[in-house]
């Protein structure tokens, strides 16, 4: 079973394939649910394809593709939640997955690792991570990091280590517990 942080990674990779250069990942814990939302400024999905996008095996990319969204939809619906896709053609896509907290809800997983790896392995794109729970809110923005480090690359070892530690700290603050231990 895949955790929420792996779904987030997969959705972000979809965004990058759609030529997005800004991807926002939001993970929100409510009293009775987790909401994972990934939105981008990529090429968008047209109306008729939007209906098919989450069907198993439907893909415009070939090979063993086309299972990511359907897997996510199935996982969300199993908890009594849902997956919603929204897109205004050529103006980005927003995927919102709602997981109701119960025994079917996948663990949150290591969201810090997902975002840090996106940040350093896709240095030409920017990422925003919004974490929120009844404990508080946190916002991480790679554009802010890049402005601060100037000509130094975000892939530079010291920077990469800092991002990892920073995100792990934020995850603990907002959700409590170590990054990969949190379950619904």
């Amino acid at each position: 079973m895949k955790d929420l942080s792996l779904y987030a990674l997969e959705l972000a990779e979809n965004s990058l394939e759609a030529e997005a250069d800004l991807v926002e990942i939001s993970l929100k814990e409510l009293d009775a649910a987790f909401i994972l939302e990934v939105s981008d400024n990529g090429s968008g999905i047209s109306g008729d394809m939007l209906d098919k996008a989450a069907l198993a095996g439907y893909s415009t990319k070939g090979c063993g593709r086309g299972f990511g969204l359907s897997e996510l939809k199935t996982a969300a619906e199993k908890t009594g939640g849902s997956l919603k896709l929204a897109s205004e053609n050529s103006r980005g896509t927003r995927a919102t997955a709602k997981f109701i907290k119960n025994e079917f809800c996948p663990p949150m997983g290591d969201i810090a690792s997902t975002v840090r790896l996106l940040a350093v392995s896709r240095p030409d794109s920017d990422f925003l991570l919004r974490l929120s729970s009844p404990r508080g809110e946190s916002l991480f923005d790679t554009r802010e990091v890049k402005n601060t480090i100037g000509s130094l690359s975000i892939t530079y070892p010291e920077i990469s280590i800092w991002i990892k530690q920073y995100l792990e700290e934020q995850t603990k603050l907002i959700f409590g517990g170590a990054a990969d231990e949190i379950t619904c």
Partner: protein, 122 residues
Amino acid sequence: MKSLAELQTIRENTRLQLNLRHERPDNISVKVGLATCGINAGARQVLSKFVDELAERRIENVTVTAMGCVEKCDKEPIVEVLIPGEEKVTYVNMTPEKAVKVIQEHIVNKKVVAEYTDGASV
């Protein structure tokens, strides 16, 4: 609490070194397949290992990036290593442990880990 101010310090400390290095011609490229097939097979842990190990060893001439599906889904996680002037090497069915060996032997010592390559595992 960590803060952005620490990034400022890192930037100042490294400015001098970076000026000496400038555009390195020996930049090695590592690509990890991160499509659905790769992620399901454990690619994030492999990518994570490459990024962590290289950072901890302060190896700076390696760029680790994600790549899409290369139509060999049953061999994921797939990792491509390209050293300038040499042929691209494709490692298949990778794990974090194998990633460490690839860094030690291929990236540091320039010896391909033949047993992990595409042809060898079939």
